[in-house]
């Protein structure tokens, strides 16, 4: 009997969330590099405390619904965290817009002025799927304003990361990605055009705490701090919301 309980203790201690106190974060792909930058800078905390899984918000949502053991979810939108709350998953008070995404139109091989492009372009334009990717929805909204004289045919990536890839590999010559990605990749500013934020619904990226850990608390506190927000800005996002945290 003593051996059995010893065995059980050993097995249980193999569960990382109990034994070594790591915080497991699921993050939308577009925010991954920003999150990594943030984690490096949290005061009095080792980066190894955090375990990051990046992916498409929809899939992460489906995984969490089915029991995936994440402690914190940084979504690319607000719907998914709300849907989780609908299913009684997550701490309602923790819902917070941690960043606002910015859309950008990228034309890596552009030689003409932007106006000429908008007037003359006929072809396929890459964007994220508007049905479930917030940047895709924003792109569609911008397109609806009649930006292009000839409505381009959409080529849909599942998320903005895949869309970025389409353009990067040259398969698309033009497409809507996130500003954050372009900054990350060091793309020169003349290759992209930033639409007015008022042309599209704000891309509000919200997080939700699923299981409270000290690691999550420290991260969120840092993201709310001046230093944290600077990092977020540098990566191409706007910050702050109307709500319980400081707005900027």
């Amino acid at each position: 009997m003593r051996h059995l309980s010893l065995l059980i203790v050993i097995l249980l201690s193999c569960n990382p969330s109990i034994a070594d106190g790591k915080t497991r974060i699921a993050v939308a792909a577009n925010f991954q590099s920003t999150l990594e930058a943030l984690i490096q800078q949290i005061p009095a905390t080792l980066p190894e405390q955090y375990q990051i899984s990046a992916g498409s918000s929809g899939l992460i949502y489906a995984q969490i619904i089915n029991g995936a053991p994440f402690d914190l979810f940084l979504s690319a939108d607000t719907e998914r965290p709300l849907a989780l709350l609908d299913h009684n998953i997550g701490v309602p008070e923790s819902l917070w817009v941690y960043a606002r995404g910015r859309l950008a139109l990228w034309a890596p091989k552009r030689t003409k002025p932007w106006d000429d492009l908008f007037n003359q372009f006929r072809g396929k334009l890459a964007q994220a799927n508007p049905n479930f990717a917030p940047y895709g929805r924003a792109a569609t909204q911008v397109l609806k304003t009649g930006l292009f004289s000839h409505q381009p045919q959409p080529v849909l990536g599942n998320n903005v990361a895949q869309t970025f890839n389409f353009i990067l590999t040259g398969n698309s010559s033009l497409g809507f990605v996130s500003l954050a990605q372009l900054l990350d990749a060091g793309i020169s500013t003349e290759k992209y055009w930033i639409p007015e934020p008022k042309l599209y619904d704000e891309i509000q990226q919200s997080l939700i705490v699923i299981k409270d850990t000290s690691g999550s608390q420290r991260l969120i506190a840092f993201m709310n701090s001046r230093a944290g927000r600077e990092i977020i800005h540098e990566h191409g996002y706007a910050t702050g919301q109307l709500g319980s945290h400081d707005s900027n």
Partner: protein
């Protein structure tokens, strides 16, 4: 903008989705059908050569053909994405000839599917071919039958089982293709939006009822395919080939 999960909206979405889903079914069937047909034409001689050749070259070719079995489809898709790029020779050639990219086109998917399903066509057929009694082929030769005569009038009738399994597997396997389409498809309705992508979309948009519907249909299809292959293997459809087994 809260996506609702109440039943009424689900049913409404269900009705709406069905039309586009039918479209996805059609694209899928076209893709699977075209892939199977093309593999029948190019895969059959390859399977024959690998089965009968004594040269060292066939030792190299066989694992190459099996490669798509072990490579993750996303890897294949990734390399195709690069290969199809207009910055590369193939992609730019295609662009010049058709004015369009290979990626995000049905043709691009077709190329990807052919690579993806290649071993599923060739291997069952190759096994069948290598089981054909060499003596029968020699007998046909001495009776005056040349190579293509022997192939069409002796080998093919003796290999019906192999052909049936190869085409069924290829078709079914292509129907289930996802990773490659995800990488290079672009989700274009009527052209590259296949069933597996449609299913993925439903999951992503939290339309689980539609997702269940599609997934259930795909499951049923796969199950029927397996039953069919089981029947073929048992020999109820082709009894003749049994006589030519080498034993």
């Amino acid at each position: 903008m809260k996506l609702s999960t109440n039943t009424a909206t689900q049913q409404g979405s269900l009705a709406h989705m069905t039309a586009t889903d039918i479209n996805a079914v059609l694209v899928t069937l076209q893709l699977a059908g075209a892939t199977t047909l093309i593999l029948m034409i190019i895969g059959t001689p390859i399977a024959w050569w690998v089965a009968r050749s004594q040269s060292w070259l066939s030792v190299l070719v066989s694992p190459l053909i099996s490669l798509p079995l072990v490579l993750p489809p996303t890897v294949i898709g990734f390399y195709l994405l690069i290969l199809f790029s207009p910055d590369q020779p193939l992609g730019s050639f295609w662009l010049q000839v058709t004015g369009d990219t290979l990626a995000f086109s049905f043709t691009g998917l077709l190329i990807g599917s052919i690579i993806y399903s290649l071993p599923f066509y060739i291997q069952p057929l190759q096994v069948e071919f290598s089981n054909i009694d060499q003596n029968l082929i020699e007998a046909a030769t001495t009776l005056g039958a040349g190579p293509s005569d022997r192939f069409f009038n002796l080998v093919v009738p003796l290999s019906t089982r192999g052909f049936l399994i190869a085409t069924t597997l290829t078709f079914a396997h292509t129907v289930g293709e996802f990773g490659i389409v995800l990488m290079i498809g672009g989700n274009i309705p009527g052209e590259t939006r296949v069933l597996s992508i449609a299913l993925y979309d439903h999951v992503e948009t939290l339309q689980y009822a539609s997702a269940h519907f599609l997934a259930g249909g795909l499951m049923l299809f796969s199950f029927c395919t397996l039953i069919l292959i089981h029947i073929i293997n048992k020999g109820s459809l082709t009894m003749v080939s049994a006589g030519a087994r080498k034993n």
